[in-house]
């Protein structure tokens, strides 16, 4: 009887397109590996730079009192590389711990504004970021504990659990910093499941000292502008990634909204970010679209 079942299972036809897909996948993986090698080398270099920045940041703290009391002093100091702009991101609180085999590392950033035009703004943003980070960390630990419970109850051993190496990470990353904008992302991830990853993007207009939206950069009719741009870019991205995006019926891209995630890149263009699975198969990972168009005014 089981033999027959096996036969039927083996008769599931494997389409030729699938073989091609695997071939393509292996090729892309190879590409990514090469790139990763490059990135790692760059990262090492960055770490050295970071260490240098750390020293500068320490110096910045010493200056804080002076900065708060004297805008002129801030302006004078702005020739200094690290505090060359009116805003920067510092790690406000960071901790690592491990409990019941669940490792967690949290790095909460805090936005520091230098200058007079931002009463209360950074405080509001910082409170939001703090809330986001702590809530995510708490929920992720809760989820991991439930997982652990289920794991042990279904016959897993403590030892096997430890081998799982569960890690939760809350961190931030500066996407770009230009003379006009500061863009950063705060994100939470769990290494055992990508289903609960969360990220929030922030872009600060440095001249005005406030959070900005797509509408601020692209004008009131930004939705149409961005949608058209994305639709135009999809075929190109599909070629580049070697896979099709979801169609509308499959729950793919329809339209951007106020909630759409974006950052501003080094040349000042907004970049739309879609999460894994949001518009394309998971293998594509996060998908980004740079919007170069501007509404014709």
């Amino acid at each position: 009887m089981l033999d027959e079942a096996k036969k039927e299972y083996e008769q599931i036809e494997v389409p030729a397109a699938f073989h091609k897909r695997v071939e393509e996948t292996l090729r892309i993986a190879q590409e990514r590996k090469k790139q990763k090698g490059r990135l790692m080398r760059m990262k090492k270099r960055k770490q050295i730079l970071k260490a240098a920045a750390g020293v500068a940041a320490a110096a910045a703290i010493v200056f804080t009192t002076a900065l708060n009391t004297s805008v002129a002093f801030a302006k004078e100091m702005s020739g200094y590389p690290v505090i060359g702009t009116v805003a920067k991101l510092l790690t406000f609180r960071s901790y690592e711990s491990e409990e019941e085999g669940i490792g967690i590392s949290v790095e909460i950033p805090s936005l520091e504004m230098i200058g007079e035009e931002v009463p209360g703004m950074s405080k509001e943003v910082n409170e939001e970021i703090y809330e986001l980070c702590t809530r995510y960390a708490d929920e992720a630990v809760e989820r991991a504990k439930e997982y652990r419970k289920a794991f042990l109850e279904t016959g897993g051993t403590e030892e096997e659990w430890l081998a799982h190496n569960i890690e939760i990470k809350v961190a931030y990353e500066i996407k770009s910093q230009t003379p006009d904008y500061l863009s950063f992302v705060v994100s939470g991830t769990e290494n055992w499941s990508s289903a609960y990853s969360e990220s929030r993007y922030y872009t600060i207009d440095l001249a005005e000292g406030r959070l900005i939206s797509l509408a601020d950069i692209l004008g009131e009719d930004y939705i149409e502008l961005v949608n058209t741009s994305i639709q135009n870019q999809i075929p190109e991205k599909e070629d580049e990634l070697g896979m099709k995006f979801f169609t509308t019926q499959e729950g793919g891209f329809t339209s951007v909204s106020e909630e759409t995630k974006f950052y501003v890149n080094a040349v000042g263009n907004p970049v739309i970010v879609f999460e894994k699975y949001e518009v394309a198969p998971g293998a594509a990972g996060e998908v980004e679209f740079e919007i170069k168009e501007r509404s014709g005014i």
Partner: protein, 163 residues
């Protein structure tokens, strides 16, 4: 050394890709999704090849990644698709009187998710019980118990049909 491991996984993937496809397909019953899942699993495996500590365990290691991708996909789907379509993933209501010719394979697909998984890995993919334990993160006795439960159920169905 690291390069060897990478190449070994590539070889393993090329050699066994049809099996991966079938397993994924048996979860999602759809060509596109099955291909996506296998693709994700391959990226995952190759991207984390340093996590494979014992090269001889490549089989259980890869199946584990694949099974995880399948489950992740199904969970994600469930979250995204509102109730109307959710029933796709539930055991369909099954009217015995009308379709007596249901094959055993279809019966397997109606077992509880983890029991189904074990039966598939054991008889369709021909993994050993120990290997299944590693893939599913269960100890050997749990695997055995679940496998026997599944087989008992299948036997029942088969007997009922033959009567």
């Amino acid at each position: 050394m690291k390069q060897d491991l990478y190449d070994m996984i590539v070889d393993y993937v090329i050699e066994n890709q049809d099996k991966f496809y079938r397993l994924a397909y048996s979860y999602v019953k759809n060509q596109e999704d099955a291909s996506d899942i296998v693709q994700d699993a391959i990226f995952n495996a190759l991207g984390n090849c340093q996590a494979l500590r014992r090269p001889e365990a490549v089989k259980t290691w890869f199946y584990r990644i694949l099974v995880n991708e399948c489950l992740l996909f199904i969970r994600k789907r469930k979250r995204e698709i509102p109730a109307a379509e959710e029933s796709v993933f539930e055991t369909p209501y099954y009217e015995k009187g009308y379709e007596q010719e249901e094959s055993l394979y279809k019966q397997i697909n109606m077992l509880e998710a983890d029991v189904q998984e074990i039966v598939k890995l054991r008889f369709l993919e021909e993994l050993s019980l120990k290997e299944i334990g590693e893939v599913m993160n269960m100890n050997l006795n749990t695997v055995k118990a679940k496998l026997y439960r599944g087989l008992k159920k299948l036997k029942q169905v088969v007997l009922e049909e033959e009567l």
